[in-house]
Structures are given as structure tokens and as C-alpha cells.
């Protein structure tokens, strides 16, 4: 079958100890039998490894952080698009999604398709809004509270037992065993990710995750559950295995049906000893371990491209159970001019 040539812009090239999903998404696209893709990397930092992985990324452009202003980011995308004629853009950071969702119509007007959640989907599943989300969709979620000031930590004992979980609005989560630790994590997280900081009830159990893709009409295009087998000190999976769990799959299908979720998502769930499933977080994008789904038979990045391009997509009905991923680190050797080029010209 002749593959369709397209150009795909992808962010999240930070393939480091807490990796972004960019490189795994690109690996899925590279393995597609449908698309012959030119990959344009969007890098926020000069040393994002993906920028130097030329077997996966054809060309990389530096882009400004969304925090510096959506208009600057959009202007840079326009410039890149003039050179590259991008067909689809896949943003992979939580922190940039708001800007790209808001700009979806403008992007489409210059020929760039996206397949992202709606603004209201993005907002209501936000971890600061999780209790209301759980109530609306009939999910068990841990009790949580948003705080904006360190002085509120003293009063947490009225609503929580220790340990409790201190979470950043985009990333990071720490288990605090006492108010001193809660204070320390509050300061660390608020300095990095801003306010509010989310305080969440600690649920004892086993964490299981699901990567899924919704078509925006309530249908699940694909979903693969995984349990982390090896976890780094940052709580990231360094190894994981696909599971056969009907209750998890049913929960995922129901959630996508009720929310009419559009795009990739990752569900973070705690299964307690009495087999109750608590939703602790919903990430509105494909996760860094999405290549496990590809390896297990569901090429979700390819399916995401099809959805973005309004092509027919047959839902995946199966995946291989007991498929493992084992992450590794690898030192690339590159010459200084490559770094210099990306640093000074913003392109590589």
C-alpha cells in the first residue's frame, strides 16, 4: 500500500528521566503503514534529546514557551508552517495544550489540523476540578482541596489524615507524611508550576494506568491498560506491562462515552485491596509510555493522525496482554555545531 506523505509537527522531545511523549509518539508514526511522515520537532530547550535524534526527527525548531504568550508561540508556528507546510500538529505537554486548543481554528485556517480535547473537556478534568468531575461522571475520586497559600497547610488536618498527596497543577506529586513535608512540597511545587497546589487524599493501593484515544463522539478508538513495574524517584514508569482487566476497560469506555473525549488521554487509577478503582488523575494527551500500546498492537499515534485528518478509523478491539516495556537511557554523541545551530538560529 502506498503511504500518504504528510508533515507532522510534534512537541515533547525531552526524552529524559521524566520524558515527554514526543519521541514515543514519533516512533508510532514512523511505524505507520498508512503515513510516510516528515517529522518536524518543536523544542522548548536547546538540549531536548529529540532534536538530535535525526533518525526520528527530520528537522527541529525552537519555539517559545506558552507562558511567554500564546501569540508569540503562534507566530513562531506560522513561520515554521511557511517553511514546512505542516499537516498535523501534535502538542504533547499539558502546559501548552490550552494555547493550542484555543488556537485550533487559526491553525486550521493555515492548513494545520489538530485533534485535541475541547476547552471545557480540558478544564473540567483538571486535577484542581477532579472532585466535581468525579461527581458529574460517577467516578470514585480521592477527596482533594486546592490551596494557594502555605498558611493553609496548618488547617489541612481538619480535612485530611496524613499521609496526603501534594500535587502541582500540571506536573509533580509528592506524598507528605506530616505538615512540615507538606510545606516543603508546597513551596517546591508552587515555585515550579504556580498556584493552586492540589492537596489530595492518599489512597492506598496499586496504581494502574490506561492510555486511550477518544474520537470526540463518545467512541473509544483504542485503549490499553498498564501497570508500572519499575518506578523512578520521580514516580515515572521505567518499566511496565499490559494488563487484562475488564473493569478498567469498562471504566475507560464509560468515561470516553460520557465525556465524548476528543484526543489522547492517560488515566491514572488506584486499585484498592477491595478492588475499588479511584481516578487520581486524567492527563489530556498521550503519555510517554504510549509506545507500549503500539508494541501491543494499537498504534494510537497513527490513529490520532487519521482522526486529525478526518480519515475513517476502525476502533481497535484487542491488544497483547503481558507485553512489557523497559525504558533505557542512551548517550548520543553530537558535535558542537549542532548545538550551536539550534541555540543561535533556533533550527536544526
Amino acid at each position: 500500500m502506498k503511504r500518504t506523505k504528510i508533515t507532522v509537527a510534534v512537541s515533547g522531545l525531552n526524552n529524559m528521566d521524566s520524558p515527554g511523549p514526543g519521541i514515543p509518539v514519533i516512533r508510532g508514526i514512523r511505524e505507520s503503514n498508512v503515513f510516510d511522515a516528515r517529522i518536524v520537532g518543536l523544542a522548548y530547550e536547546n538540549l531536548e534529546p529529540g532534536a538530535y535524534m535525526h533518525e526520528l526527527v527530520d528537522k527541529t525548531y525552537r519555539v517559545p514557551y506558552p507562558g511567554e504568550g500564546s501569540e508569540q508561540l503562534l507566530e513562531r508556528i506560522r513561520y515554521i508552517n511557511n517553511k514546512e507546510q505542516i499537516n498535523v500538529l501534535i502538542p504533547n505537554f499539558d502546559s501548552e495544550l490550552f494555547a493550542f486548543v484555543k488556537a485550533a481554528d487559526i491553525l486550521r485556517s493555515i492548513g494545520i489540523e489538530t485533534f485535541l480535547p475541547t476547552l471545557s473537556q480540558l478544564d473540567e478534568r483538571h486535577k484542581a476540578n477532579l472532585p466535581a468531575f468525579g461527581k458529574k461522571y460517577g467516578l470514585m475520586v480521592p477527596f482533594s482541596k486546592n490551596i494557594t497559600d502555605a498558611s493553609e497547610i496548618e488547617k489541612l488536618k481538619d480535612d485530611f489524615d496524613y499521609p496526603l498527596v501534594v500535587k502541582g497543577k500540571f506536573y509533580d506529586a509528592y506524598i507528605a507524611n506530616n505538615k512540615e513535608q507538606a510545606s516543603m512540597y508546597f513551596n517546591r511545587i508552587s515555585a515550579k508550576w504556580g498556584l493552586p497546589v492540589v492537596i489530595q487524599e492518599f489512597i492506598q493501593g496499586t496504581e494502574v494506568n490506561v492510555v486511550a484515544l477518544g474520537d470526540g463522539k463518545g467512541n473509544t478508538v483504542g485503549a490499553v491498560p498498564m501497570r508500572k513495574q519499575y518506578i523512578t524517584d520521580k514516580g515515572k514508569a521505567w518499566g511496565g506491562i499490559t494488563l487484562n482487566d475488564h473493569t478498567l476497560m469498562e471504566l475507560t469506555h464509560q468515561l470516553i462515552r460520557k465525556t465524548e473525549w476528543r484526543g489522547g488521554m492517560e488515566l491514572e487509577i488506584i486499585r484498592t485491596a477491595d478492588k475499588k478503582l479511584y481516578m487520581i488523575e486524567i492527563n489530556p494527551r498521550l503519555p510517554a509510555w504510549v509506545y507500549l500500546a503500539v508494541g501491543a498492537g494499537q498504534n494510537l499515534p497513527e490513529a490520532l493522525l487519521k482522526l486529525a485528518l478526518n480519515m475513517p478509523v476502525a476502533p481497535f478491539t484487542e491488544y497483547a496482554v503481558g507485553k512489557l516495556f523497559i525504558r533505557y537511557s542512551y548517550d548520543m554523541i553530537r558535535d558542537l555545531p549542532a548545538f550551536e545551530k539550534l541555540s543561535t538560529q533556533g533550527e536544526l
Binding site: G240, I241, V321
Partner: protein, 84 residues
């Protein structure tokens, strides 16, 4: 007693529970006992077969067997029927 139906047990004694992702290694005797459970043998039948084949007192075997079965139940590898 019966092995939970979704549990995968390999010829080498590697046990995998696909619903939790847990995996375990059985030693050769453990594997032999698991096979007997899978064949539907009762505890008494298993005790008779093992004590006949190996140099082990029945009372000692019972103690080890009880520990082993407790561990299998704890990890949800086997479940017990009402009549057991």
C-alpha cells in the same frame, strides 16, 4: 481449590497474573503441586502423591502445603470452592 482462570503458568514455573501484572517464580515442587491442583486433585490426593514420591513426613508436608496454599490464595492465584 482451583487455579484462577486468567492465571498463566509456564512450563518453567513462571506465573503471571494478567489482571494485576504480578509475576512469580515457582520452584519445581511448587510447580508440581500447582499442576496437581490444576488436574483437580484434592489436598489429600496431593499429600498422598507427594509423600509417596518424596522423602517427606505427611505432617511436615501438610504444614508446608498449608503455607504454600495460603500464599497462593494471598496472591489470588488460586481460589477455594465452598466445599473445600
Amino acid at each position: 481449590m482451583e487455579i484462577n482462570k486468567n492465571i498463566a503458568i509456564s512450563e518453567t514455573g513462571f506465573v503471571f497474573d494478567p489482571s494485576t501484572g504480578d509475576s512469580f517464580m515457582l520452584n519445581p515442587i511448587g510447580l508440581e503441586i500447582i499442576r496437581l491442583i490444576r488436574e483437580g486433585k484434592t489436598q489429600e490426593e496431593i499429600a498422598a502423591l507427594i509423600t509417596e514420591k518424596y522423602d517427606v513426613e505427611e505432617s511436615a508436608f501438610e504444614r508446608y502445603f498449608y503455607d504454600f496454599v495460603s500464599m497462593l490464595k494471598h496472591h489470588q492465584i488460586i481460589q477455594e470452592h465452598e466445599k473445600d
